[in-house]
Each structure stands twice: as structure tokens, then as C-alpha cells.
């Protein structure tokens, strides 16, 4: 059974200083704009954010970075044409960057959710991003050891939630949502609608409810990927 929160602040009520926050999305597809807006209104500082990108324009993740409350970002692709907020903080030395190849980032998040202590990946071998990492030859190929990335909170964007917490996603907005949901102590999903348990075909559930703690309905925002507001079709 999930908790359907009235607003993003309620969903983020136990966010603490120094927390690691996993933020879904690839570019703006799958970015939980409503939850990020809620994050703006939280006090927690010294955060580590794990997300594929480091914000675009002035809203969403960029607005969160602009508060100065993010100490470090772990991502694969911070530099974009409109990543000026991150760019400035980085050049001013106000934010730490851990750059991780995208597939290793995804696999490290999955490993955290799957109870894997570490894994050997071929990605990055022989490159500067393997610096300081253990290299091991297995069956004739070189691999580097990568460790899991655990989150305190995961903020993800989904399409439909049922009251058992099961989630579906929309198209490529699925991206990091399903794996981040598994890797955090508390997972909050921003959704377009909440339906009764049983309304999602069990064969089509992408994220089982065991990985979801709280849900908030999306509010329409000008830049939101799935911009339409959420609806609660029914309550139990």
C-alpha cells in the first residue's frame, strides 16, 4: 500500500542534510518536475544528486542546483547547451562532479537495488574515467570494478500508479525510473494518475509496488515532459 501525498513537500518531508537523492530523467523526459519544485522548498543541504544530466535551463534540476544546496553530482552528461547553472557552479568550484559513463551509472544504480556488492564492466577500460579503479582480466578481457550507488531518496516520474504502488511509464520517459526506484530507501513517484489495485494488468507492471513508498500527482508545468496534470481516478 502506498501513501498518496497531497503535495511534493509532504512526499519529501524526511529529506535530511547530506542525503543522496536519485533523480530520474534523461534530459527532460522522465524528469520529476513537481518533485524538484518541492525540493526547492525543502531546507536539506549538502545533498548529493545522482542523475543522468545536471539540469537544463533554469527550472527543474537546474533550479535545485542554483540553491547551492547540492554539494556533489554524479552523472554522465552534465554539459549541455543550456546547462549554464551547472557550468557556473562547476567553474566556481561550488559543486563536485563525479562523471560516470552512462551504462556504468545505470548498472551501479541497479546493483544497489539488487544487493550486488560490485561488478566488473568493460566500459571505460583504458580511459581516464577508469583512473584509480581496479582493473581485472577475466576470460581474456579487461574489466574495471564498479561499486553500487545507493540513494536515500529516489524522485522519479511515472505514468500510472495503482494503489498497490505498481507503476507504468510513458515511452522513453521510463529511462532511470525503474532502477532508481529499487536503489533508494524511500522512493517517491510523480504520476499522471492513481488507479485502484488491479487496474494495471499484472503482466504490464514495470515497477512492482514493493519499490514505491509515496506517490504525488503531477501538476501541469510549462516545461514538464508529461505536462498534463495528474488525476486520482478513485480511492480505495
Amino acid at each position: 500500500m502506498i501513501e498518496v501525498c497531497g503535495d511534493a513537500e509532504a512526499a519529501l518531508r524526511d529529506l535530511r542534510d547530506g542525503a543522496t537523492v536519485l533523480v530520474g530523467g534523461f534530459g527532460e523526459a522522465g524528469l520529476p518536475f513537481g518533485l524538484l519544485d518541492g525540493l526547492l522548498r525543502c531546507d536539506a543541504a549538502g545533498l548529493t544528486v545522482v542523475s543522468n544530466n545536471a539540469g537544463n535551463g533554469d527550472s527543474g534540476l537546474a533550479a535545485v542546483l542554483a540553491t547551492g544546496r547540492v554539494r556533489k553530482i554524479i552523472c554522465s552528461y552534465p554539459r549541455q547547451v543550456d546547462s549554464w547553472v551547472f557550468d557556473r557552479l562547476y567553474r566556481e568550484g561550488k559543486i563536485e562532479l563525479e562523471l560516470v559513463p552512462q551504462g556504468n551509472l545505470a548498472e551501479r544504480i541497479r546493483a544497489a537495488g539488487a544487493g550486488i556488492g560490485g561488478f566488473y564492466t568493460p566500459t571505460g577500460v583504458g580511459t581516464p574515467l577508469a583512473a584509480g579503479k581496479e582493473v581485472r582480466n577475466i576470460a581474456g578481457c579487461d574489466y574495471i570494478l564498479e561499486l553500487p550507488i545507493h540513494g536515500d531518496v529516489a524522485l522519479i516520474r511515472a505514468d500510472t500508479a495503482d494503489e498497490a504502488g505498481n507503476l507504468t511509464y510513458r515511452k522513453t520517459a521510463r529511462n532511470f525510473g525503474p532502477i532508481m526506484a529499487t536503489a533508494a530507501k524511500v522512493t517517491v513517484a510523480e504520476v499522471n494518475r492513481v488507479v485502484p489495485a488491479g487496474a494495471i494488468d499484472p503482466e504490464n507492471v514495470v515497477t512492482p509496488g514493493i519499490f514505491v513508498n509515496r506517490v504525488v500527482l503531477a501538476v501541469g508545468t510549462a516545461k514538464a515532459g508529461s505536462a498534463r496534470s495528474g488525476s486520482r481516478e478513485t480511492t480505495r
Binding site: 534523461f26 523526459a29 562523471l99 551504462g103 548498472e107 541497479r110 564492466t121 581516464p128 522513453t172 529511462n175
Partner: protein, 207 residues
């Protein structure tokens, strides 16, 4: 150049087209060739760029541009998408490059400029994961410096991964640390040999 790459992609292949110029290859892949496009943000069966009412902010390619879906498409999450790449399931990926070495080493994510903000994305995963990596680039940079080099001086993306290089002046095949020129455009193998700092051999494409 995109047309040549498209010509050389075997029918029925699963293909990832990198950001920028490689995306143009899609325009030259006829549907009866049954090439299936992968985008690493989590989709197989990607269609052309979306226009007008078809634009859906939840359906984008790796360059974050709106795209469409074709019949037979599928969506999957990032760990599954990169498992697909890393696990050697893609037949071909096409990427741009700053430099390619004769051994097939690829440098395409960082110029080495210490002031640059680094960003890597999925380039390293594609380099190690795809069965074959094609590179599209100009053969010389603006200063006339060759980009096909004995050894990359830019930070590496992957080791010994590139097998073909499509440039404005010629197409190259890299094999066993040898560089074969398979086609030239307004130049000759001898001329290329004199302008490049690597030995090149004339060689036809294998069947």
C-alpha cells in the same frame, strides 16, 4: 557520407546512431532493409524525427530530440538498454570522433582541454559494446591536422573498437593495425598516404 554508411550497414541489423551527423544515416536506410534503430535512452524501433503534432516530450532520442515509434518498437529502462549495448547485441553503432588510431582506438568525448566541462554519456558503452563501430568524421581538422592518427592524443573513449572510418576524402577499413583505403573522393591513395602520418594500403571492401 551518411549515404555510404547506410549502404554498408547489413540488412536486418540492429543499429545505434550517435548524436549529430550519424543521425543522418537514418535518412538513407530504406524500410525494406529492415534495420532496427536503437536509442540508448531506452527504445528499439525508433522512427524518424517527430514533427508538429507528433512531438511528444516523453519520446526522444539520445540527442534529446523528439522522435517517433515504428511498428514493432519496444521500450525498456536504462539498465536494460545499456545491458543490450554492453552485452554485444547491437550489430553496428555509428559515432563521430575527434581522433581514431590505426589500432581502432577511439577518442570522441573530450578534447583534453583542462577548462572544458567533461561529459561522456553513452559513448564508452557503445564503443565497447557494439559488434562493429563505424566512425564518421572529417579526415582533417580545421588546422589540417589528420584525425586518423598513429596513436590518439585526446582522452580515449575505447580501445581497439573502430573498424571503419567514413570521411569526406575517403573510407577506411581498420584491421590488424593496418589501414586500408577502400574508397576515395576527389583524391588518391597516394595523396592520402602523403598527407596522413600513418601508412595506408589500398584495399577493396571484403564481400
Amino acid at each position: 557520407m551518411a549515404k555510404l554508411v547506410a549502404r554498408d550497414i547489413p540488412g536486418g541489423s540492429y543499429v545505434n546512431l550517435g548524436i549529430g551527423q550519424p543521425t543522418l544515416v537514418a535518412d538513407y536506410l530504406p524500410s525494406d532493409k529492415h534495420v532496427v534503430l536503437h536509442t540508448e535512452n531506452g527504445m528499439l524501433g525508433m522512427g524518424p524525427q517527430a514533427q508538429g503534432d507528433d512531438i511528444d516530450p516523453d519520446l526522444t532520442n539520445a540527442g534529446k530530440l523528439p522522435v517517433t515509434e515504428l511498428p514493432g518498437a519496444s521500450y525498456f529502462h536504462h539498465a536494460d538498454s545499456f545491458a543490450m549495448m554492453r552485452g554485444g547485441h547491437l550489430d553496428v553503432c555509428v559515432m563521430g570522433a575527434f581522433q581514431v588510431s590505426t589500432a581502432g582506438d577511439l577518442a570522441n568525448w573530450h578534447t583534453g582541454d583542462p577548462d572544458a566541462i567533461p561529459a561522456v554519456g553513452g559513448a564508452m558503452d557503445l564503443a565497447v559494446g557494439a559488434k562493429t563501430v563505424y566512425v564518421m568524421m572529417t579526415l582533417f581538422d580545421k588546422d589540417g591536422t589528420p584525425k586518423l592518427v598513429p596513436k590518439c592524443t585526446y582522452p580515449l573513449t575505447g580501445l581497439a573498437c573502430v573498424s571503419r572510418v567514413y570521411t569526406d576524402l575517403a573510407v577506411f577499413r581498420l584491421e590488424d593495425d593496418q589501414v586500408y583505403v577502400t574508397e576515395t573522393f576527389g583524391t588518391t591513395v597516394d595523396e592520402l598516404a602523403s598527407r596522413l602520418r600513418v601508412p595506408v594500403l589500398a584495399g577493396p571492401f571484403p564481400a
